[in-house]
Symmetry: C2
Subunit: 390 residues, 2 copies
């Protein structure tokens, strides 16, 4: 069970049973304090901070993140969030008529929209290969997914941990096979960093984007984009600024870094606080926290199954870590169900409508405890019969 | 002369003579406090704040900004900065071979790069029409600029107040004539809001983007994009997210607002603090501050002219407001000159290399006083002879 004292390190409202770390994360106090300190520093001398120190500060913040992610700082830039990273790569591809982007049917809706928009604009096709849920074994998922590949597949886009179904996909095996077939790969790691160990250089994706503000606990608006050295030159910035023609004496070392490091005046404090978030996790034995949270979910999944009469949605316990879905009966009004969970039981948890099925997505973080899940069971026991008979 | 007490309202280092408001602005304490309060509020319940209250909060913040800018909230969205706004419109245009974008030779370098990149990618041409400096009358500038228009001119891009030359361009007359000729117009108002009065609906531009974090005094990372109703459907978001297919019951009222209001998880505190910045200016008689700052520049421009032996760069005093350039002799090492001004005299001021000529760009803000300009005169008297003879 997670060390209960860690909840005092967070700024979350203690009156809420917060089972939705997954949507927007939560930032510990010492990280948040650093965040606001960076902002005060900036305001003391904006020209010094943004005009002369910016690149050095960003490089200093990227360094520990690169180490944390298992890559070199030269392969990494900060972006606001993973959606930004996905859009940036999607726009960079120069999609042509006939091109195919292959993905699963477990992806984040906003990213589905991004690809649908750009594919339809350019005459390309976005193919959502169905993957079963409850999940099958990694090998079975790999083979099922690969049935969607054709000679026109330009890029494979997959979440490392899916948003609607909290499923860890076998992206390592898929990226490796994609590379063998000359197919580009982009992994959306929105939920990965801080929840599962990452080694981006070994993972084998061409592009990998992730959030720091979810499971890595940074302030909001900090994500990253990784690009393997061989494909960095494919990239076009969404917002082009001074980096387009950098004085060689001031170059950060590559076109990739020069183009993407500065995109106009903004508050970089969220980026600069990422090292503090990494440090917080290190100081609080995060591997243990992750394992404790995972163990709690593992213990409760069968209880929810018994309650709702649906099977556990994961075949192996390595298919989820701190976030997992439970299936619930199909509701007439899922939104009302969710708002009543919040209003009547103070439980913040996302309801999910996926392929005509309804789920709750549970997140377990350092500030949670078993009693939070007991409260959810109590609420569901009361609420579900009412809503099913509505 | 500006009310000297206002300097105590800012967070700027009192040991620096800060003559560069123009680059990154400066945020007053009460506005900054609101900024950080919004962030604390967000962290107390991130799902409530970002998931359920976000659109209402943004609409509440847009309302006073729309009023301030003389337009309707339905024509306005927040963006991070004006560079973002320029990139967004430039990408939305679907430039074709042969298209021409007409601009002046006084534009901000990062925006020049944006257009050069997208034009060269699409076979279009970016034409920088020369405008004399010292500036001529508005009518003369209008006619000189219009000589660059051809039958292929697709869009006119101009700064309202130019960055390297601090020159207010006659954008009202140019936009009006552009509309009569069926040419689109985009005005980069990075330096306009808070420095000169704006009425976007009357101004006549199709698109207008500006910063709130410069002269309007908001925290960093708050800008806006205006689009006239007739051209809103031309717009493509840089980052596409959930707004691509909005539930009609949750629509903000238009495709324009739905597409651009939410672009993934970020910290919206800078946007939400814009009303506090407007309020700060209203409470501190900002029209008087603007006039006082302007009067101080007007008084000192001839002194700098006498010192350096160059004419005043403005024909009329309505061609600048709180920011103006002075010409200085051509330096061997302009960067060294600038850093010595800072290191030896603690003067923060931008040096500008424009068309093989060198300028200093003076900003006067509520926290400045005459003695700041006296200090600059003293420093230049000492430094320029040394640097010219280098």
């Amino acid at each position: 069970m997670p060390d209960q004292n860690l909840s005092s390190h967070f700024l979350l409202d203690p009156d809420i049973i917060f089972l939705n770390h997954g949507s927007f994360g939560a930032c510990p106090k010492p990280v948040f304090q650093q965040y606001q300190n960076w902002q005060r520093k900036l305001e003391k001398q904006p020209v010094l901070f943004l005009g002369r120190q910016y690149h050095d500060l960003i490089c200093q913040a990227i360094q520990p993140l690169a180490e944390f992610l298992g890559t070199f700082p030269s392969n990494l830039v900060f972006v606001t969030n993973a959606t930004y990273g996905v859009n940036l790569i999607a726009r960079s591809l120069s999609l042509q008529p006939g091109d195919e982007i292959l993905t699963s049917d477990h992806e984040y809706g906003a990213c589905d929209y991004t690809w649908e928009f750009l594919c339809s604009k350019n005459g390309a096709t976005y193919i959502r290969q169905p993957l079963p849920y409850p999940a099958q074994s990694e090998d079975e998922m790999l083979e099922l997914f690969w049935e969607g590949v054709t000679s026109r597949t330009k890029l494979i886009f997959l979440s490392h941990i899916t948003s609607p179904t909290a499923l860890r996909l076998p992206v390592e095996a898929i990226c490796q096979r994609a590379r063998e077939h000359g197919i580009l790969s982009l992994i959306d790691g929105a939920h990965a960093p801080g929840q599962i160990p990452l080694n981006l250089d070994q993972l084998g994706a061409d592009f990998y984007t992730g959030n720091c503000h979810k499971w890595l606990l940074s302030p909001k608006g900090a994500g990253f984009l990784y690009a393997a050295p061989a494909v960095q030159d494919l990239i076009e910035p969404l917002v082009l600024s001074w980096g387009y023609q950098t004085d060689p004496a001031k170059s950060l070392g590559s076109r990739f870094l020069d183009l993407l490091t500065w995109t106009g005046t903004h508050d970089p404090a969220a980026f600069l606080s990422v090292p503090a978030a990494i440090q917080f996790q290190q100081e609080h034995h995060w591997q243990q926290v992750q394992q404790d949270c995972h163990a709690l979910i593992k213990e409760y999944l069968p209880k929810f199954s018994a309650l709702n009469g649906y099977p556990v949605l994961y075949q192996h316990e390595n298919q989820y870590q701190q976030m997992a879905c439970i299936e619930i009966p199909h509701m007439q009004n899922l939104e009302l169900f969710k708002s009543q969970l919040y209003d009547q039981f103070r439980i913040e948890i996302p309801t999910i409508d996926w392929n005509q099925r309804h789920f709750l997505r549970i997140s377990m973080q350092a500030y949670n405890q078993a009693s939070d899940l007991d409260a959810l069971i109590g609420a569901l026991t009361y609420m579900i019969p009412i809503h099913v008979s509505m």
